[in-house]
């Protein structure tokens, strides 16, 4: 069965590439553009992995991440945070709040895919 990936980012131009890449790998993809939608989609869509942008309207990626981790039912969801905020302190915060990986924009698509494959155990 194909794995499911949720892309939460409010920048359509990056979403196009991410969506294309994930579909190429045969994953089922859902795209949302703010934090609240992201949290809802985690419940409805049940993704295996979330590509989570930090700077989103309504609810920040940090908050979404912390909420996901507070729900034991979602313990298996892998979270990759994507952010234009690249300081050490933000990376530390993202990881502390339960993200499995923190990727700073701009990133290499190859590295990102490698990270996604690794997290999905493929």
């Amino acid at each position: 069965m194909g794995k499911k990936v949720l892309i939460a980012d409010d920048e359509p131009n990056i979403v196009v590439s991410l969506e294309f890449l994930m579909k190429q790998k045969g994953y089922t993809v859902r795209v949302v553009t703010d934090g609240e939608q992201a949290l809802n989609a985690v419940g409805e869509f049940g993704p295996d992995l979330v590509l989570l942008d930090v700077m989103m309207p309504r609810m920040s990626g940090y908050d979404v991440c912390q909420k996901i981790r507070e729900n034991p039912a979602w313990a298996d969801v892998r979270i990759v945070m994507l952010s234009a905020k690249g300081r050490d302190i933000e990376v530390t915060k993202g990881l502390a709040l339960g993200a499995d990986a923190y990727v700073t924009k701009p990133f290499s698509t190859k590295d990102l895919m490698a990270k996604v494959l690794e997290l999905l155990g493929e």
Binding site: E11, S17, L18, D63, D88, K93, L97
Partner: protein, 726 residues
Amino acid sequence: MSDRIRFAVALAAAWAFLLATLAAAALLVAADLSDAERALVAPLLREHAPSVVAIALLALVPLALILGVLHRRHVTAPRQLAEDARIILAANPAHRAPVRGSGEVMRLAESFNQLADANAALRHDVESRVRDANERIEQERNRLAALMSELAQSVIVCNIEGRILLYNARAMQLLRQPQESAAAPGKAHSLVGLGRSIFAIFDRNLIIHALEGIHDRLREGARGADASFVTTAPAGQLVRVQMAPVQGAAAGQTPAAAVEGITGFVLVLDNITRRIEAGNRRDLLLQTLTEGTRASLGSVRAAVETIAAFPDMDKAAQERFIGIIGEEAQRLSARLDQTASDFADSLRTEWPLENMRGADLIAAVRRRIEARLELPTKLEAVDESVWLNVDSYSLMQAITYLVTRLREEFGIREVRFALETAGALAHLDVIWTGAPLGSETAMTWQTDSMNAGGEASPLTLKQIVERHNAEIWYQIHKVTHRECFRIAIPLTQPEEAAWSAPPGLGSRPEYYDFDLFNQPGQTPEQDNRPLAALSYTVFDTETTGLQPSAGDEIVSIGAVRIVNGRLLEHEVFEQLVDPRRDMSPEASRITGIEASMLEGQPTIDKVLPAFRAFCEDTVLIAHNAAFDMRFLRLKEDAAGVRFTQPVLDTLLLSAVINPQLDSHRLEAIAERMGVNPIGRHTALGDAIMTGEVFLRMIPLLAEQGIRTLGEAREASQKTYFARVDY
């Protein structure tokens, strides 16, 4: 006895003595005579008796002349000399005693005059020296005043009790009170004034915290110990305050003596509101530049790499990716242009962060929490080597705020602190147990405005953390499995502080005789201070009637200050108050305040805080103070202030001075004391009159041995009037 009578008595005595001598001689002769001789003499005597009486009377004349000369030389002359001496001493130093009388008295008069000459020369010398010294001081003061008025910064000099001794016009301007009366727009009260308390302007704890920092640095042996902090002025401006200690004349050389020798401090205030705003704008620009650039670059890179990785993708997909690349490239160019133009006028922000050992910060936080919140604290692992670059006061405020909310909303019983390093960061953990906070609450706490331990801050937790380039989040502490807030702060090197005083301040000119610093403290020993040395706020209220408990309200408050025995007519408080009830015609007649004048005036709950600030740290004086205090007291809750300072009542003091008199009305006292009744029945007019009356009472009270505040209050209590209950 008058001189004339004395002379007459002396003359009579001398004459009587002469007659008695002659009579005694005649009797002796008569006793020796035989009867025949007596028979011969007696008719002779009888025949010549009138001539004998005449001769006896004539003898008075030379006697009077001789006595007169003696009296002039030996009685009148010394007495006049004594009077001349008194005139020289008391009234006219240029007067000289005329040289006359006996030789001895003349020599005495000459010596007196020589003494007077010597005294006059000495006095003249002293006067000219005093004049010179005063001129020098005046010159130095003028120089200082010129220097201070030229300064772009506001300067306030305080003694160690926080009383303002000196300030410049800019300080007065900067620290105007926000509240303006509708009757006189633009005439806002300034909180700055001679003898007033700095604590009415800045948080007492903030000043004490900065002073403690200076003490610590002096004890470590630093030469020029300054402290700086950022706070808000009463009108809301952001002010950077630099504090420098003022050493007394007896300041010693050792660090401990240097701390002991601090007699006051100088505050240099800088309004950085604009700069901070500019800094915030710059930060925002920088952020949009870097983050925006990263985002666009991310989209471009992902698109390019995708095209490269899948060369055989269909035409439509390829065009879409190329479109993205073009769009993002244009967006990048536009952003760069925008930033370049905006950035040019942004100034560098100087938020004063200071270097501090992390362990010291935690120790300070623990002391504060234990003292303020009476909450036990404990330490987990603390890395002693951690140095941080912080605004210690605001960070302490932030942590206190967190702990306050934890205690108030979750009833935690204890809080623990841990400090560890993680790469280039320090993790400061605030740890507790038994309060499942949840991330949502933790998030709202970060953006709520802080209010902890009675101290409100205009900043939010988030802003304070951002100011330190730090991050804060809520998590489960790994070691203890307890809940915690983790504050991640960049580590710093222990050597240099990030912000230091500009050069030049190190070599301070010695320009002011800080004599005023020698005012004793306004602390528990206040009662032992002489009345003439205290600072007072003399006030009066006008009301709608005489019964506060029956709903009568204050319609006007007037107050004036007395500092160092002088009534400062320019430091006044005058405010009409909307009583929120009708003004009776009777009350209007007495007070001269019409209902129409009160429309649009602030209500008492707005006015009392301003009045409280005006009279901070002074002794209150009012005529029939019990009446005014009763009105104030009833409004304390509504206004959220307390009037706890000592109070003196001129009515009671008048009763102390003149217990036998019936009338102690203000007019009656003023008339007795020779004070002009001006502007009666306006609150300010009455306050000024009460102040004048009080000043004239001080020497009269001293005559009764009442010299200190404590004695004055004690004597007041004992008067009959004090027993009348209002």
